[in-house]
């Protein structure tokens, strides 16, 4: 049952600084870290203490409210530091690699003949479970749930983001094994959304859907909305494409080898350096880009719309396949509000020639204005290809009106679906933050 999706609303931001479609192995990072903050709403309970030696795949901490969900060390080595913040909250668990990459071997399992319980148990034990993100709420999936469907997007539309087709080039076998394993866990189907001429269109055990259209057509949120929308009480799972290959690899080899292929993009990365780097989850940023002057350059783990801001001695986000370097835009612009000036800044607005001029743009992090009251209407709908009223949903989240949020479709959205609204809205409203807070409220009130 494949259904093609044609998305019309949205906005493709064409930016300078693309990565060359070539994968190289990144130099080994000496320190790796897992950051509990990457797993939204997870409260970590440490298993190992500072000084303990670990193998890749060994549990480092588990989730306090769902003890079966375990988080494993990505490499072998020694836990050298547990960095804590305010109220002793754990910020980072740092592991100094010993370079041997020993991994816990949990034995090969044939995904095709494995039972659902077997698959679930292996994913939970091995530390692969956190790759599964559930909708609603966009958090790590509950270990007891059976989702009505599983979505994987192999169609990349986010600006400059690492292209899934490139990342999976040499991982197709593992990817297939991962899909087969995951298909045991759902009562419905695994949906794989691909672009035109995809190398993944003959993957088995999944419904393949062709997607076409501008960003956010590649977001799983949009694909779920078009194919199998989330109703109240439903659970739908989503996974990153490379993570599916990591799961497949677990079944094929019995080992947890969390590779991460990172596209280094953005105008502040040297052109020769802009390619795909194969490293391991939690690697230090400096292992890929060296030391960066963060007064003038912003390091973003992820794409420019949804990534995390990092310093050059910090660690990659657990899930993201992109590392973006763009200039900080901390400069004044004389009379910058005059219509039809500053056309070099990308824009979806009618008061700039930016869209007419076309071409790729160099971007910086300037806010291009100041936060204001919500005045303009109709602009949010232009970049949200869902049957949802974004402005009304945002207002419901701001006022914390749970019934209204439910009615307006809070279960169907994740912050990343509102990233383009962050970008385009005239009032400089932080839409992603508002939606995240709204979802958090739903978690505590509804669960």
């Amino acid at each position: 049952m494949s259904k093609d999706i044609r998305v019309r609303k949205g906005l493709d931001l064409k930016l300078k600084g693309e990565a060359d479609k070539k994968i190289v192995t990144a130099p080994q990072s000496s320190i790796y870290a897992i950051k509990p903050a990457d797993f939204h709403a997870v409260v970590p309970k440490l298993v190992l203490k500072e000084g303990a030696s670990v193998k890749a795949g060994e549990t480092v901490f588990y989730s306090k409210y769902d003890e079966k969900v375990k988080f494993a060390a990505p490499v072998s080595g020694t836990i050298t530091e547990i960095l804590r913040g305010a109220k002793r909250r754990i910020l980072e668990v740092r592991i100094t690699a010993n370079g041997t990459n020993d991994a816990v071997n949990r034995g090969k399992v044939d995904p095709a003949s494995a039972s659902a319980d077997q698959v679930r148990k292996l994913l939970l034990e091995s530390g692969c479970w956190p790759f599964i993100i559930q909708r609603p709420y966009s958090i790590v999936a509950n270990s007891e749930d059976t989702p009505k469907s599983i979505f994987i997007s192999a169609y990349t539309t986010a600006p400059l983001a690492g292209d899934v087709e490139v990342i999976l080039e040499d991982k197709k076998e593992a990817f297939q094994a991962g899909i087969t394993a995951l298909s045991k866990l759902t009562s419905g189907a695994v949906h794989l959304c691909v672009g035109k001429n995809s190398a993944l269109k003959d993957i088995k055990d999944a419904d393949i859907h062709k997607v076409k259209g501008p960003h956010p057509a590649g977001n799983v949120g949009v694909q779920i909305h078009k194919l199998d929308p989330v109703n109240m009480g439903d659970r739908v799972w989503t996974l990153g494409a490379e993570d599916v290959a990591t799961i497949g690899n677990l079944f094929l080899t019995g080992e947890f080898k969390p590779e991460r292929t990172i596209a280094l993009v953005g105008t502040d990365a040297k052109e020769a350096d802009r390619k795909y780097y194969r490293t391991i989850i939690g690697a230090n940023v400096s292992s890929i880009v060296g030391t960066i002057d963060t007064d003038h350059t912003r390091i973003i783990s992820g794409d420019v719309l949804t990534g995390d801001k990092l310093l050059s001695d910090q660690f990659l986000n657990y899930y993201k396949n992109t590392l973006t370097l763009i200039p900080e835009g901390n400069e004044y612009a004389l009379l910058g509000w005059l219509p039809f000036t500053r056309n070099k800044v990308p824009s979806n607005a009618g008061t700039s020639f930016s869209r007419l001029l076309g071409g790729k743009r160099k971007v910086d992090t300037n806010l291009n204005g100041e936060e204001r009251a919500l005045v303009v209407t109709g602009e949010m709908e232009e970049v949200l290809p869902m049957d949802i009223y974004p402005l009304q949903l945002i207002k419901a989240c701001m006022s914390g009106d749970i019934e209204k949020m439910e009615n307006l479709g809070i279960y169907e959205v994740a912050p990343e679906d509102f990233a383009l609204i962050d970008f385009t809205n005239t009032s400089k409203l932080e839409a992603q933050e508002v939606i995240r807070l709204g979802l958090d409220l739903m978690i505590t009130e509804v669960g």
Binding site: T306, Y332, E370, V375, T377, G378, F423
Partner: protein, 391 residues
């Protein structure tokens, strides 16, 4: 230009957090950000942002108003001078004489509107501790454009104060108001000072000589007299009326700017004109009196209808916010505008009342549009549940 920036940075110092004048920061910020788009960078959410901001949007509306404003200045001068000089035709008045005379008459209105309105806006921004919103740049220009030219300045000042205080700030400021502030000002003056806002002696500047007349077309019709102006006169705007509302052509140039820049909703403008035409056609079909017989296409070009639909009805804060809602809202603005005109000759300026009425109903329209979406979602849930039970 670096020199200007340096001076500004120096001037800002006492307003910075922890300094003496910290509270008054919104005031200096308003001037600073007017000159320079600030150097703020993104702190959370998307790391890059669109070039558009509220200043740019509001200034675009001001630009769109300029054709109507300039024409209004000329027309104000010309309407007065051609009678004063005893000419046969409005267009016989030398262009610059008319324009300068009009500008002298209109500029004080604009100044009073901006000074009174912006003062209140600044006080509220400082009191509430937020930045000065740019909305008043548009409102402040709209208000003098829809008043009769001879309105005493103190009445204008009171109307402006009423509109900003009661019409906007009482509801929480920019973005929260239910009624369009400019129309609120006009409606206030209309009911508080009817002698200065209606009748046949106020639409053209009176000057020193007596006996200058200038009845609006709608006023003439309301008395059952026949109209002496052609369709072209009315569309071009060579007719008496409020300062800048008379020229449909100048207003449509503004409409084109608003639509091409996506600042004004083409849905509201288009459906508004359609609504007015439909109501006009219905009245024409009955044709029981002079007002009802007044051709439907004439309705579109006389009075403030086009100005109201293009610049007032499209105010995004007080209009409907959903796409479908905008079609309904715009249509009813035009529809009721003509209806009030015809049925109630005491209020010939029906479009003002129609838009204010629809401002009040816009949230209701949106409610029903959104409810349809909510019901669709509930139906889907119910279907999913029943599928589950049968399975």
């Amino acid at each position: 230009m670096k020199w200007v920036r340096k001076k500004l940075d120096q001037a800002r110092k006492p307003f910075e957090p922890g300094q003496k004048l910290e509270k008054f920061a919104p005031a200096i910020n308003a001037f600073d950000t007017f000159l320079y788009t600030p150097n703020h960078t993104t702190k959370k959410g998307a790391h890059i942002r669109d070039v558009v901001d509220l200043k740019r949007t509001m200034i675009t509306v001001v630009f769109a108003l300029i054709p109507a404003l300039l024409f209004g200045m000329w027309n104000t001068g010309a309407q007065y001078l051609y009678q004063d000089m005893g000419l046969d035709n409005v267009t016989d008045v030398p262009f610059w004489d008319a324009f300068i005379e009009g500008a002298i008459l209109v500029m004080p209105l604009i100044l009073v509107s901006y000074i009174v309105g912006l003062t209140i806006e600044f006080i509220f921004a400082i009191y509430r501790g937020h930045e000065v919103n740019e909305g008043y740049l548009v409102t402040g220009l709209l208000i003098p454009m829809i008043f009769p030219v001879d309105i005493p300045l103190w009445m204008l000042a009171i109307s402006v104060a009423f509109a900003v205080l009661i019409g906007k700030e009482a509801f929480g400021g920019t973005g929260m108001n239910i009624l369009n502030p400019a129309l609120t000002a006009r409606a206030f003056a209309f009911f508080a000072y009817p002698l200065y806002m209606s009748g046949n002696a106020i639409w053209v500047h009176q000057g020193a000589t007596d006996g200058i007349s200038g009845e609006t077309i709608l006023g003439t019709l309301a008395q059952g007299k026949s109209v002496a102006y052609s369709f072209f006169d009315a569309a071009a705007g060579f007719i008496p009326g409020s300062v800048s509302e008379t020229s449909t052509i100048a207003v449509l140039i503004g409409a084109a700017i608003l639509i091409l820049t996506k600042v004004g909703s083409w849905r509201i403008i288009l459906s508004g004109f359609v609504g007015a035409a439909v109501m006009g056609l219905i009245f024409n079909a009955f044709g029981l009196n002079a007002l009802m017989e007044f051709k439907w296409y004439m309705h579109l070009v006389v009075g403030g209808l086009s100005f109201g639909l293009v610049f007032m009805a499209t105010d995004p804060v007080s209009a409907a916010q959903t796409m479908k809602g905008k079609w309904i809202y715009g249509f009813l603005c035009g529809f009721f505008g003509v209806m009030i005109r015809v049925f109630n000759p005491a209020y010939p300026e029906g479009i003002m009342l129609a838009i204010l009425l629809m401002n009040v109903f816009a949230p209701t329209i949106d409610h029903y549009v959104i409810q349809a979406n909510v019901n669709k979602r509930k139906k889907r849930l119910a279907k999913a549940k029943s599928n589950l039970q049968t399975a």
